[in-house]
């Protein structure tokens, strides 16, 4: 029983990371049709920014941890907004080329991170409580899992509220459905593109600091490895659907944990099989409306 609870909560913690990446991917794809391969780099840069701050301020206190999260989000948002403004915008409506540019950016940025911070993992520490465990129904759960789950829920609620209660949110929701009709109402939908990239980048950068805490290290490849699963989550959940991404994140990560434990480390395979199964049965994903 305690193993099941450990796997479940750890899975949800990992799912929280997937969601922080997938939420942005899904929104960006839904609104703009851009599959963003550079999204992992937003996360990685956020993680390194958080680490740089933490090692200067002293990692073992909550103030630093919160400051790192904020800095990670800000850096991720700035990187993402710049990407949209300088690279994606030039290729308006040319989806394949937009994808290619993000591929180039992903390769170049990871190489640059290699150059700046080296290829080896850098081990990080945080507030002591994060490295401790809490007993839940007999299972010792690492505390950072709770922070991850909480953070993902806060981000989910934050994005939902933004989409529901702001004019930009209204434009984004309408644009996901029918972009050209939004412009035909006299709205410059491109401004919403930058906003969506910034939100996605903020969630990813924020997730970068949390990922560093979850894995215990930062490295230039930390974003890229999460990105692949975030892609899978996005497709399973339905491209463009935020709630789909949330549900799929939890399912994929929990399934992965259980398969890794009970089926001899086959978590990644099971996820791929799930993806294949979902696409064959319902190509538009769990909550997606378009394929």
């Amino acid at each position: 029983m305690s193993t099941v609870i450990l796997l479940l909560i750890t899975g949800l913690g990992l799912g929280a990371l997937y969601f922080l990446v997938a939420s942005g991917l899904s929104l960006i794809y839904g609104l703009m049709g851009v599959l963003n391969f550079a999204h992992g780099s937003f996360l990685t840069l956020g993680a390194f920014a958080g680490w740089e701050l933490a090692r200067r301020l002293g990692a073992d206190n909550w103030g630093t941890f919160v400051a790192s999260l904020v800095l990670g989000a800000v850096v991720g948002a700035a990187f993402a907004a710049a990407t949209e403004f300088f690279l994606i915008r030039k290729l308006y409506e040319r989806h394949i080329e937009q994808v290619l540019v993000t591929v180039g950016l992903a390769l170049a940025s990871v190489a640059l991170f290699d150059g700046i911070w080296g290829v080896d993992p850098i081990f990080v520490t945080g507030p002591a409580w994060l490295d401790g465990t809490t007993d839940v129904l007999g299972a010792s759960i690492p505390n950072n899992r709770f922070i991850l789950i909480l953070a993902a829920i806060v981000v989910l609620l934050g994005i939902v509220a933004f989409l529901k209660y702001t004019r930009f949110g209204l434009i984004i929701r309408a644009g996901v459905e029918n972009r050209s009709m939004v412009t035909a109402l006299g709205i410059d939908v491109r401004r919403a593109f930058t906003v969506v990239f910034a939100i996605g980048g903020a969630a990813a950068g924020f997730g970068g600091v949390l990922a560093a805490s979850y894995y215990g290290y930062v490295s230039p490849t930390i974003g890229g490895s999460l990105l692949i699963f975030a892609f899978i989550v996005t497709v399973i959940g339905g491209l463009g659907s935020l709630s789909g991404a949330a549900i799929a994140s939890a399912i994929v990560a929990v399934l992965q944990q259980f398969a890794n434990y009970y089926l001899g480390g086959t978590g990644d395979f099971v996820v791929v099989l799930l993806l294949a199964a979902v696409l064959l049965v319902k190509p538009s994903g769990l909550l997606g409306s378009k394929a």
Binding site: H95, E97, V103, A108, I116, V235, L280
Partner: protein, 362 residues
């Protein structure tokens, strides 16, 4: 000038020129050409031949990807899976099954064909970005499988070295590099001919038409699914053939071969060379490999390490320079190298914007 262009555009002349080029490449190991800055040494030295052979293999791999991406318009993110099957399949058949070279090749060929057909059959049920994701996921599964080292077959992170027991002597060892070079050249020529033949065949025309207007193809009573699958399988098995040659040339396979990064590199190569151009894929493959090699040498040179950090760090990362170059090509040189060359060759009269060609793929 116009006359020259007309003559150059004649099919006979084109094939003749290609023949001369292949002939020239074939006698390179017997020459002592030296191009400082491009090649590491004179053309007869094993190091240079090894690099040239490697670049031809990457060109052949890019050609096989051209079939899927450029001709059929399928944005596959899992193409290197079939390349890895070639390298690892042959390696495993030789080392663990103890097969002779020829049966090992046949077995690997069949394995590549089978996996490509199976993955294609599944993933072609979805289109566009979902297709890209499924192919990526399958390739990822392959990459994980290789890393997990099931039954000690793949060697995990260590990689798998070539067991030369059943490989003929003339293909083994540094002294035989020129034979391997000729083998790689032959493979490149074969892949090029197969690709040309397929593009000219009825199936090739149908699949190109499907890329542009699937509905119209359906209307004339052809199910696009099967021609797409055929293209996917041929592209895949060609990659397997190239992968086998890779193992013979490099004597080892590592799990990087199946990584997502390598597929992205392949995409970069095809776009750099020019999407939709056969020659583009070849030129892209060769240019990319040579650039990568030279940039790596450049990165570790004294000139770079003497620079201040702000210049040294980016310049010491070949992938940073290549990635940036790639972004610039996509932004400012649609059609890549071959697109630019073709525009110059045909004068300024090119009717269709190469960007449209690329966008049809969406």
């Amino acid at each position: 000038m116009k006359r020259v262009r007309e003559v150059l555009a004649m099919p006979v002349v084109k094939w003749l020129l290609a023949g001369v080029l292949v002939g020239f490449l074939a006698i390179l190991p017997l020459l002592a050409l030296n191009i400082p800055g491009v090649l590491p040494g004179p053309t007869y030295t094993p190091g240079t031949l090894q690099l040239l052979a490697f670049s031809m293999l990457i060109a052949a791999l890019a050609l096989s990807y051209h079939l899927i991406f450029g001709v059929a318009g399928l944005l596959s993110f899992g193409h290197t899976l079939y390349f890895a099957i070639g390298a690892y399949g042959l390696g495993i058949a030789l080392r663990h099954f103890g097969l002779e070279l020829l049966p090992a090749i046949v077995l690997t060929f069949i394995a590549g064909l089978f996996v490509a057909a199976a993955v294609g059959a599944l993933s072609l049920r979805v289109t566009g970005i979902s297709f890209a994701m499924v192919t990526l996921a399958f390739a990822q599964a392959g990459s994980v499988l290789i890393r997990k080292n099931p039954g000690q077959l793949t060697g995990g992170d260590e990689g798998l070295t070539l067991d030369t027991t059943h490989v003929p002597d003339f293909l083994v060892g540094v002294l035989q590099t020129k034979n391997l070079y000729w083998l790689c050249l032959a493979i490149l020529v074969i892949v090029f001919l197969v690709t040309s033949w397929f593009e000219r065949s009825r199936a090739g025309h149908v699949v190109a038409a499907t890329r542009e207007n699937e509905l119209r193809v359906r209307v004339i009573g052809i199910r696009p699914y099967f021609v797409k699958l055929l293209t996917f399988a041929i592209g895949g098995v060609l990659a397997t053939v190239v992968g086998m040659t890779y193992l013979l040339l490099q004597s080892s396979a590592t799990q990087k071969l199946a990584s997502a990064d390598f597929t992205l590199t392949l995409l970069v190569i095809v776009v750099l060379g020019g999407v939709g151009y056969r020659w583009g894929a070849v030129i892209g493959g060769v240019v990319y490999t040579l650039l990568d090699q030279r940039l790596t040498a450049f990165a570790s040179s004294d000139a770079v390490s003497a620079l201040p950090d702000i210049l040294r760090i980016p310049l010491s990362q070949p992938l940073f320079i290549l990635g940036t170059l790639f972004i610039l090509v996509v932004l400012f040189l649609p059609g890549g190298i071959a697109g630019v060359a073709s525009r110059i060759a045909k004068g300024r009269t090119r009717a269709n914007d190469p960007r449209d060609v690329l966008e049809e793929l969406g």
